[in-house]
Amino acid sequence: MDGVNPVPKLYRSVIEDVIEGVRDLFAEEGIEEQVLKDLKQLWETKVLQSKATEDFFRNSVHSPLFTLQLPRGLHQTLQSSTASLLIPAGKTLPTFITAELGTSNSSANFTYPGYPVHVPAGVTLQTASGHLYKVNVPIMVTQTSGRANILQHPFQQVFQQLGQPSIIQTSIPQLNPYCLEATTEKSQRMETVLQQPVVLRSGTVDRKHLENATGDTLIHPGNEHKIMSEALLSHPENSQYISLSGVVFPPQVSQMDSDVEPVLSVSASMTQNLHGGPLSTGPQGAQHQHMPDVQLRVLKNRMCGCDSVKQPRNTEEPSSLPVSEKDSNSQMDLSIHVADDDINEIIQIDGTGDTSSSDEIGTTRDVDENKFLGITDAGDLKVLEEASSISNEDSTANSSDNEDPQVDLVEEDPLNSGDDVSEQDVPDLFDTDNVIVCQYEKIHRSKNKWKFYLKDGVMCFGGRDYVFAKAIGDAEW
């Protein structure tokens, strides 16, 4: 039992309990059983998509896995049409996915076979990362080999995203295959199926989602990144794509949409995992590397200064890159470099900044003071100035920085206005990613030493969840 995270099991059991508990309620309201099932699925999807259970998927990054959650009745169909359904040997799947073999919700896992897989309608595809895609119409899951594969079925609405708006990133046909991926909320990390790139192709994507996604993701810097929003590809022969293609293939637009950030930030995490996975594997090795590189470039472009991006950057450098990507590389490097510069340029007033001229310090104080001007009245400021100027004239010893009376004036005001407690601390202080929700048995304080006796808590650190029955802590205030 050591090392096994109890969280997913616990969550699973809670979900089950709740659904069972409300089953009667739903029945009383005259709501169909299917709605309850959908609710359960949606809830599970969201939980899986969150980082809370990411540990369970981390191991499975190495092998591409699709879990098909089939509605009743389709199980047989799926098996007959895709004899390639394989249960992967790796036992990395979280138990509550593989356990989905009940009559009402059967699922099967399979690694991507070498040939296209036909997925009938109504199937929910779940990637190894836990992202669920509900397929409304039959689709072909194919592996691109550098050229567009012609869809064999007319598709209406293939993709129904479950959960938050997600974007499917795929490679441009003339470029290399990549992997299926969806981005979700910013706070969620994504792991992608790696080793054998798969492209989910579809007809028109559900308009609503498309609009959401295109509004959000849209334009990627350069075709070389081979990323498209939502709909997968622009198959030229399919007129339905045309409207998308305009969106999807913007010529060399390197636009950093603020809306895109959530997508990208997730992708950044994804690339971390991408890097973590074995990138150079199998015959798709060379091609395969392009995808993560490509995505990395995009991510890096967007995630200026983001630490999570920097990691893959350092490690990905040696990998071979197509020439077309170099521009984006330099762009990316520049953007990160700029971020570094910004950090270096933080003005220091104290300590090591002593050797800098007093003028600079005065200037800095001016900047600070300008901020305070917004808070204090101009009239009060004048009074302060007068008072400080008088006091300065009286005791020149007070001015430690400069003998210039004017500079003293400026420096004295922040001295007084510094008494104000910044109002920014309080709202920001309580807004954090790391939260513990629990009950207290006893809170003890002795002078400034606090002791906490807590129980039944759920902790969320950077998205990852932990639980405890008891927690004992010490802190000094």
Partner: protein, 109 residues
């Protein structure tokens, strides 16, 4: 009645979001959604009380504390959480704690 405290967790938030989507699509009524959440409160409270058995220790520095309506809210900095299996370090954590004494049984957020 169980604390509604745990609604602001991954599990609780995802449930609320899912319910909201269903309300939007008018598959369920808001009243029913509320009932589901109440059921969730019961389930999570009992699950935590009965199915979780581990202990955690932590140490850090207290930045702020607040006690209002019998709810403690702390913000700690540079905290280390120690479990038998692992060590977790965070630079800032917020703790929201409702009264968990056995004699207390309230329904507060």
């Amino acid at each position: 009645m169980a604390y509604q405290l745990y609604r602001n967790t991954t599990l609780g938030n995802s449930l609320q979001e899912s319910l909201d989507e269903f309300i939007q699509s008018q598959q369920i009524t808001p009243q029913l959604a509320l009932q589901v959440l109440l059921q969730f409160d019961k389930a999570i409270n009992s699950a935590l009380a009965q199915r979780v058995r581990n202990r955690v220790n932590f140490r850090g520095s207290l930045n702020t504390y607040r006690f209002c309506d019998n709810v403690w809210t702390f913000v700690l900095n540079d905290v280390e959480f120690r479990e038998v299996t692992e060590l977790i370090k965070v630079d800032k954590v917020k703790i929201v704690a409702c009264d968990g004494k056995n004699t207390g049984s309230n329904t507060t957020e």
